[in-house]
Amino acid sequence: MLYLAYRHLISRKKQTLFTFLGVFFAACAYVVIAGFFLGFQDYLVDQLINNDAHIRVSAREEIINERDLDRNFFSEAKHIFWTVPPGGRKDETKIENPQGWYSRLEKDPRVLAYSPQMTAQVIITRANTSTTARLIGSDALKQQRVTNIKNQMKEGHFSDIAVGGNRVIVGDELLAKIGARVSETLLISNGKNTPTPFKIVGSFHIGIRSLDQGVLFAALQDVQKIAQATSQVNEIAIRVTDVENARSIAESWAKISPEQVQSWDIINSNVLNVFNIQNATRYLVTFVIVLVAGFGVYNILNMIVIQKRKDIAILRSMGFDQNEVIFLFLSQGIILGLIGGLTGVFTGYWICRYLETISFGGGPLGSGAGHMTISFSQHIYFYGMLIALISSTAASFLPARAAGKLTPIEIIRSGAE
């Protein structure tokens, strides 16, 4: 029967070609669309994972409630009435027991590196310009192991701040904003103390605008001084050996500590939510593609079954049974699905290879790759093939079953007339 199916296909070249093209384009389009979207997502996730910490432990911002200070002030009193009840945010937020965290992180084999940080909101002044920014204090050597900052330096070395002594590394856009250059001096204050001069020893470009525009790095002890919080840290950035585990590790730590512990996917959940919308779009497009390709196969096979009634009748009289007749037409759909799918997926691959070479100004975050990132995941090709096969098989099923149900006598009777 496969033999006859093949002969059917090659004897009506035009129809076969059209149906083939439908399946071909479906598989091809799927591979390109999925490659494009997933490539973009992979790129973004890659950026998030490689450039930043996988897990952040940060001090909780404590809100003071009406009764929180009762015991501090009136330890003996039974009934306390405030004229103006205490409220607002606790002044300094800090990790309560950083030593406990360090020993836990040292011991944990899943942790690759960690970097305690002190982050302060500061005012920076140069000549007559002032702006607010975030000053991140860390141990430069530890910080380099947790994030990719070492490779994102534009000028200078990140380790230049390791020795301390009031040196800063500034985001390139922030530098431009205040009109400063490397080796100049900035005044930095937390708004309450007198400004301290800091020497600019380098600049960085991460590619995330909020960071390039609003962040400075300095040594941990220098920032602690600015923040008037000696030996305190308010954040610990952590890199784990296997990023797949980041979330479960973060969740397990969150249960046993008062601090907030967040994995990279939670921190960036807004970005990941965009993926969901992208994926929904992709599924919808795929669905339409499948529908169009499937309808093409269905239409043509339906027509062929009607045209081939006489052939079906004589095959039945030769002793071919219902299933063999079904197979005759079903296999044509499968052959079209296989060939259309294979060639479509193959062509899609080459289109993707071409797309990859297209360059555009900066990556999705305004920097980065500089050319399109396309996913070449095996899954895409597997699903592209599967979609082609399933849609053409499903589409040929109904016509094939109709062919199987034809009874030979009616056709033979009418054939004689």
Binding site: M1, L4, S11, D311, M318, G319, F320, R413, G415, A416
Partner: protein, 220 residues
């Protein structure tokens, strides 16, 4: 007993029309029987019932001692493939296959196309088609197409040939050629042949005539 028809009745439609009203006869192995009667007398209907293509409303048919009613679908298809050859008024050749490929089509059911190939070629040669072996049906004349169809019916060396007005579409020269082929098969291979015809001349070629009138067998 090669073919036994026992109380065959056939009703069609609603309200039912009684086309066959109790047919009884026996046909011996190697007989060549013509089935005659005027148009609409139920000749084709009876032939399809005898040959397993259709089921009687009542009654039973046995071929080579096997009751068709009791055969499973699988066995019925195998029986048709191995033991029965059909020739219709229309040739029903598959348009995308050559003459030889058409003849070999029944052999494909059990993947015997290669063993049967020499015999198929031999049949086509016997029927004067040695130059037409690789022609497609549309490259053949009506008489040639019908001869290819007969070769196809014979390729499995069946016990039975059922033919429904096989000469109906042919001119008299081609018709006589077909009748000579049937005669030869019957004599040489001892194949049992049941042939529907309304041509009295051709009916006389047969060793016996079964005449249908008013849904009954009039003369056996």
């Amino acid at each position: 007993m090669s073919i036994v028809a026992h109380n065959i009745e056939k009703l069609f439609g609603d309200p039912p029309t009684h086309v066959l009203k109790g047919i009884n006869f026996e046909i011996q192995t190697g007989e060549f029987v013509s089935l005659t009667g005027r148009s609409g007398s139920g000749k084709s209907t009876l032939l399809y019932i005898l040959s397993s293509l259709d089921k009687p409303t009542r009654g039973d048919v046995s071929l080579s001692g096997l009751s068709l009613d009791q055969m499973s679908e699988t066995d019925l298809h195998l029986f048709r493939n191995q033991k029965i050859g059909f020739v219709f008024q229309f040739h029903f050749l598959l348009p995308e296959l050559s003459a030889l490929e058409n003849v070999l089509m029944p052999a494909r059911k059990l993947k015997q196309e290669n063993e049967k190939r020499p015999y198929a070629i031999d049949l086509l040669k016997q029927f004067g088609l040695q130059d037409r072996i690789n022609n497609l049906p549309h490259q053949l004349s009506g008489g040639e197409m019908q001869r290819v169809a007969i070769a196809r019916a014979l390729v499995m060396s069946p016990e039975f040939i059922f033919a429904d007005e096989p000469t109906g579409n042919l001119d008299s020269a081609n018709g006589e050629l077909v009748m000579r082929i049937f005669h030869d098969i019957n004599v040489k291979n001892k194949t049992t042949i049941v042939m529907v015809t309304h041509d009295q001349e051709f009916a006389k070629n047969a060793s016996r005539q079964i005449h249908l009138a008013d849904g009954k067998v009039v003369s056996v």
